[in-house]
C-alpha cells in the first residue's frame, strides 16, 4: 500500500511526459525537445556501455568519476573545516567573539559571484571547482554546528567538570560526539548546494565532468543525452543521501533511542 503511494507521483510524471512526448512526435517525428522514453533508454544504454569511437573510453563514466571526485573532495574539506571551526566557536568564548561575526558575513557572500575570482587566481583546473564548493557550503555548516555546540545544556558541561574533565576532554568526549550527527545531517542538506556549485563551475570551464557534458551537448539540442545525465545525477545524489542517512543511523544509535 505504502509502496503504491510512494510510486504514484513518479508514475504520474512519467505518464505526463510520455503523453506530451507522444503528442509532439505525432505532429513532427523529428522533434528533439521531448524524445520518446524508448529513445532515452536507447541513448542511456549507449552512453553507459559504448566507448568513444576515437579513444574507446566510456565518456559517461569518466564524467562521473571526475565530478564525484570534485564533489566529495569539496564536501569532505568543507565538513572537516566547519567541524573544527564550529567546535572552536561554540566552545571558546574568545574565538566566538572573534569569528562568529566574520563567519556570519562570509556566509552572505554569493559563492557564484566570486567564481571568476577563483578562476583568475587558481586557474581553470580542479582546484578552483573544489574551492568553490568549499566556500559555498562551509560558512552555513559552521554556523549551524557552532549553534549546536552552544545548545548543549550548561549542566552537562558542569557535570563533566565535576567528573574531572579538562577542556580537551569536554571537547572530545562531550561536545564532539553530540555534534557529529548534526554534521552528517548538515552534509546531507549541503549536498544540494554542492551539486549546484559543481555543475555551475563545470559549465563555465572544464573539459570533463557531468555538468560540462550537459552544457556541451546543449549545443546540439541532444535532449536524450541531457535527460539521461540529469536522471543519472539525481540517482547519484539520492544514493549519496541514502548512504549518509544509513551511516548516521548506524553510527549514532543514541539519537534514535528516545524516539
Amino acid at each position: 500500500m505504502v509502496v503504491l503511494l510512494v510510486a504514484l507521483p513518479f508514475v504520474l510524471v512519467l505518464i505526463a511526459y510520455g503523453v506530451a512526448s507522444d503528442m509532439r512526435l505525432a505532429v513532427n517525428p523529428a522533434d528533439k525537445l521531448l524524445p520518446a522514453p524508448a529513445t532515452i533508454a536507447e541513448t542511456a544504454q549507449r552512453l553507459f556501455t559504448q566507448g568513444d569511437r576515437r579513444t574507446g573510453d566510456i565518456v559517461l563514466w569518466k564524467d562521473t568519476f571526475a565530478s564525484l571526485t570534485r564533489l566529495l573532495g569539496g564536501v569532505g574539506i568543507a565538513a572537516a573545516l566547519s567541524l573544527s571551526l564550529g567546535m572552536i566557536i561554540g566552545l571558546l568564548p574568545i574565538a566566538r567573539a572573534m569569528l562568529s561575526g566574520f563567519v556570519a558575513v562570509v556566509s552572505m557572500v554569493p559563492p557564484l559571484a566570486i567564481l571568476p575570482i577563483l578562476f583568475i587566481m587558481l586557474g581553470l583546473g580542479e582546484l578552483s571547482k573544489v574551492v568553490l564548493i568549499v566556500i559555498g557550503i562551509t560558512p552555513f555548516m559552521t554556523r549551524d554546528l557552532a549553534q549546536r555546540v552552544l545548545d548543549i545544556p550548561h549542566e552537562q558541561m558542569v557535570k563533566a567538570q565535576t567528573l574531572g574533565a579538562s577542556s580537551l576532554v569536554i571537547a572530545l568526549r562531550v561536545a564532539l560526539p553530540q555534534v557529529l550527527p548534526r554534521l552528517i545531517s548538515n552534509i546531507r542538506l549541503s549536498l544540494g548546494s554542492a551539486w549546484l556549485f559543481l555543475i555551475a563551475a563545470e559549465a563555465v570551464a572544464s573539459d570533463v565532468g557531468l555538468g560540462y557534458r550537459i552544457f556541451l551537448v546543449r549545443r546540439y539540442l541532444a535532449m536524450d543525452v541531457i535527460l539521461t545525465y540529469v536522471i543519472w545525477i539525481t540517482l547519484l545524489a539520492f544514493v549519496l543521501d541514502w548512504l549518509l542517512k544509513t551511516l548516521s543511523r548506524r553510527a549514532f544509535p543514541w539519537m534514535e533511542a528516545g524516539l
Binding site: 557535570k159 563533566a160 567538570q161 567528573l163 576532554v169 533511542a257 528516545g258
Partner: protein, 255 residues
C-alpha cells in the same frame, strides 16, 4: 574544624543583590536541605558551592582548602535534568565518572577493565544492571536520576550537591528515590547539600534544614537587599530536638 565553611558570602548580579551575609559551617557526613521561596537564591547558593560562580564577597572552603575557581572533582552534582550524557550508554556513563579525569577522557586496558567492574557493581547498587547497554533516553525519569547520582558517586566527590533532583518525578518514584538516597548516604557518610522546594522532602531527608529568605525588603528597590539564611533547623529525629538526649547522654539521668 568544620568540613564545609561558608563565611560571609555575598552575591550580586549587576547591582542586584541575590545573597548577603551567608555564613554556615557544615560537618562531614551531614545531609543539609536547602529550602525557600522561588527566586530567594537557593539555587545561586548551590552554584556557589559548586564553584560554577564565584561570590562577589566572602569565600567557601571545603576541608580548609583554597576556594575553587571552577567546578572540580571535589564536588559531585545532580541537576533536575541533563545530568547524564545522552550519547553514552548507562554503563559508559558510569565509566565516564572515572575516565573523564584522564588526559584524553578514555580508559584503556587493565584500568578500563577495573572501571567496568566497578561500574557493574554500581549498576547493581543503583538497580540499573538490566539496562546497562541502553541509552539514557530510553530510561524513565527516576532511573535517569539514579544513574546521575551513581555517576556522581563514581568520581568519589567529597561533597554531593543536588539541585531539586526529584523535582521532575512523580510522587511514587520520588518516595522510592528518597529511600535510595537515604540508604546511599548512610552507607557512604557523604556530605550532601540538597535544594528542594518540597518542605516535607527537605525535613524527611535532611539532618539539617536551611531556610533562605530576605530579612530586609525595600519596597522602592526590590533588588537592593539579598536573601540570607533565616532559619537553621535541626531536622534529626523527625525534626523534634532533644527527645533522645537521655539515650545519647545516659549520665544526665536523674537518680
Amino acid at each position: 574544624m568544620s568540613f564545609v565553611t561558608v563565611s560571609n558570602v555575598w552575591q550580586a548580579y549587576g547591582g542586584r543583590s541575590i545573597l548577603e551575609r551567608v555564613s554556615v559551617s557544615v560537618e562531614e557526613g551531614e545531609f543539609v536541605s536547602i529550602v525557600g521561596a522561588s527566586g530567594c537564591g537557593k539555587s545561586t547558593f548551590l552554584r556557589l558551592l559548586l564553584a560554577d560562580e564565584r561570590p562577589t564577597r566572602g569565600e567557601i572552603r571545603i576541608d580548609g582548602g583554597a576556594p575553587a575557581q571552577e567546578p572540580n572533582p571535589e564536588r559531585g552534582v545532580v541537576f533536575q535534568r541533563y545530568s547524564v550524557f545522552p550519547h553514552l550508554t548507562v554503563r559508559e556513563n558510569l565509566i565516564a565518572g572515572e575516565g573523564f579525569a584522564t588526559v584524553l577522557g578514555r580508559l584503556r586496558g587493565a584500568r578500563r577493565r577495573a572501571a567496568v567492574e566497578r561500574a557493574d557493581a554500581m549498576l547493581e547498587r543503583i538497580g540499573l544492571n538490566h539496562v546497562a547497554d541502553h541509552y539514557p533516553a530510553a530510561l524513565s525519569g527516576g532511573m535517569q536520576q539514579r544513574l546521575a547520582i551513581g555517576q556522581a558517586m563514581t568520581a568519589k566527590p567529597r561533597v554531593l550537591l543536588l539541585d531539586e533532583p526529584f523535582g521532575a518525578l512523580d510522587p511514587g518514584t520520588r518516595v522510592a528515590m528518597h529511600e535510595f538516597l537515604t540508604e546511599l548516604q548512610r552507607e557512604t557518610r557523604m556530605t550532601v547539600f540538597m535544594v528542594s522546594h518540597d518542605l516535607e522532602e527537605a525535613f524527611k531527608l535532611g539532618d539539617r534544614v536551611l531556610v533562605f529568605d530576605k530579612p530586609r525588603r525595600d519596597p522602592q528597590d526590590p533588588g537592593l537587599f539579598g536573601a540570607t539564611i533565616t532559619y537553621d533547623f535541626d531536622a534529626r529525629d523527625g525534626g523534634i530536638p532533644f527527645q533522645n538526649t537521655l539515650e545519647r547522654y545516659p549520665t544526665l539521668a536523674v537518680g
